[in-house]
Amino acid sequence: MSSLTVNKKTRRIIPGFHLSLGYTMLYVSLLVLLPLSMIFIHTMSLSWAEFIDIVTAPRAVASYKVSFSTALAAGLLNVIFGTIIAWVLVRYSFPFKRIIDGLVDLPFALPTAVAGIALTSLYAPNGWIGQFFNFKIAFTPLGIIIALTFIGLPFVVRTVQPVLQNISAEVEEASASLGATRLQTFRKVIFPELAPAILTGFSLAFARALGEYGSVVFIAGNMPMKTEITPLIIMTKLEQYDYAGATAIAVVMLVTSFILLFSINLIQWLANRRFVH
């Protein structure tokens, strides 16, 4: 691996810096920044006091708590099980592995509304799974966690999987021949390689879960103060033709997600630098 000083020189060695960066900047400016700036522009029609009033209204605050805690729980579940699934898919062989590998992407391909409906019918009190539990799963925060875990799973699996595939057997062999146990090899050799991907997978799954709407509305029950998610608050404001109010809440969500993703990217970058040296 190259050290930071070499990296600085590579700017001159490897071509395409201006082309690739320029293209990237143009593309994200037109397709991400310009559209998202509209949210801020519309929010600006509010005074500061109005803005604070809207984003700190009791129902809004309650919805942040619901959205944040369920997205966090779903993200953590996905980190644990997503990593195990990626590991098993890359390292072990078992019947129907190809098909099972394919199934992991299903949450991306299935329209979120369909996922919501299917999960609700399974986990509702009279559903295939729900009937075996003597407490309610669908129409409680538990149901929201299930929907969010479903939609976030591929993020973790699909970011960890290629990295795992790319770890060459030689490194592990070297570690083993130096007398490391399997667990040591995993902790000292494999895990550091996987950690950035796992963290990325988590942050993406978490961020996606914060904003998810389509699947959650079916399974959440949508009770104000209890199972009402933030995107639903945005929808209720839009239904009242309150664009400014809707964009105000959207600003809060957007800034939160941005800070979250930015800090995780920063942590990774710092960690990368440490590993490199």
Partner: protein
């Protein structure tokens, strides 16, 4: 043919397993436990919902199923969805490679910021993702008057649906490539350049072979998500039957008409498409590995 591929695949994996030394394998019970956990999790979260979709789809018999997916409105929806995907996925693939190249091969100020901006569409609620294009191109939007005068339709027509889809699926390819290219570093490219290859050749012969699996994964995911996007497209579509309804929106319509079997028939078709793309990807992967 698929089956023979599969058998050969299993056989080659078994060979691999045999050649691996014990130190490179976890103890058997660990392997079994992990496999069991993974499969159980997938069963509860993916297989069962899928089974319930298929069982509802065929509830009223094969006739209803076939009628549902061959209905003119369904065909129009399938066609629209495929058109959108055919535009959005290549755009994001080119962008993904460019962005990954810029973000992993060079160091520059604001790199983390740019990386975060690339990630952002994942974090934006689909509701908002649709809304922003309405705010831009809707009648009351920034370009609303100009578009109305020139009679150009963006939202509530194909361009709006494409834009929303591009937005939602923008990070997929880039996000798949970045961690991969990060772990690979820049030494191979540097060597190639110092040996006199130009930038494009270096990319084509050195970088691309290294990242092709990541790229393929990215494409498949981007494709899957583009087909399935519901929330954002729902805001910009206008829901005109047979014209601006994509497959997910068509499913919603059927569901709201209490045609549960038909709705889930179309949904099952979508999951089949997704699984087929994955299998195709695997066959391509296997072929080139064994070649």
């Amino acid at each position: 043919m698929e089956q023979s591929t599969f058998i050969q695949q299993v056989a080659s994996e078994k060979n691999n397993a045999v050649t691996k030394s014990a130190a490179l394998q976890e103890p058997r019970f660990v392997r079994y436990t992990l496999t069991f956990i993974a499969l159980a999790f997938l069963a509860f979260f993916i297989v069962l919902p899928l089974v319930s979709i298929f069982s509802t789809a065929f509830q009223k018999g094969v006739g209803v199923y076939v009628a549902a997916i061959t209905h003119p409105d369904a065909m129009a929806a399938i066609k629209l969805t495929l058109t959108v995907v055919a535009i959005a996925v290549p755009l994001n693939a080119i962008f993904g490679v460019m962005a990954a190249w810029a973000l992993t091969k060079f160091n520059f100020k604001g790199k983390n910021l740019l990386l975060t901006i690339v990630d952002l569409p994942f974090a934006v609620s689909p509701v908002i993702a649709g809304l922003v294009f309405i705010l831009l191109f809707g009648s009351q939007g920034l370009f609303g008057d100009w578009l109305f005068e020139h009679d150009i339709k963006i939202v509530f027509a194909l361009p709006g649906i494409v834009l929303a889809t591009v937005f939602v699926t923008l990070p997929f390819v880039a996000r798949e490539l970045i961690p991969l290219m990060q772990t690979q570093g820049t030494s191979e490219e540097e060597a190639s350049i110092s040996l006199g290859a130009n930038g494009f050749k270096t990319f084509w012969y050195v970088t691309l072979p290294n990242i092709k699996w990541g790229l393929l994964y990215g494409l498949v995911l981007c494709n899957a998500r583009a087909i399935g996007e519901f929330g954002a497209v729902s805001v910009v579509s206008g829901h005109i039957r047979g014209m601006t309804n994509t497959m997910p929106l068509h499913i919603e319509i059927l569901y709201n008409e209490y045609q549960f079997a038909a709705a889930f028939a179309v949904a099952s078709l979508m999951s089949v498409i997704a699984i087929i793309t994955l299998i195709v990807k695997d066959i391509v992967a296997w072929k080139s590995k064994s070649a």
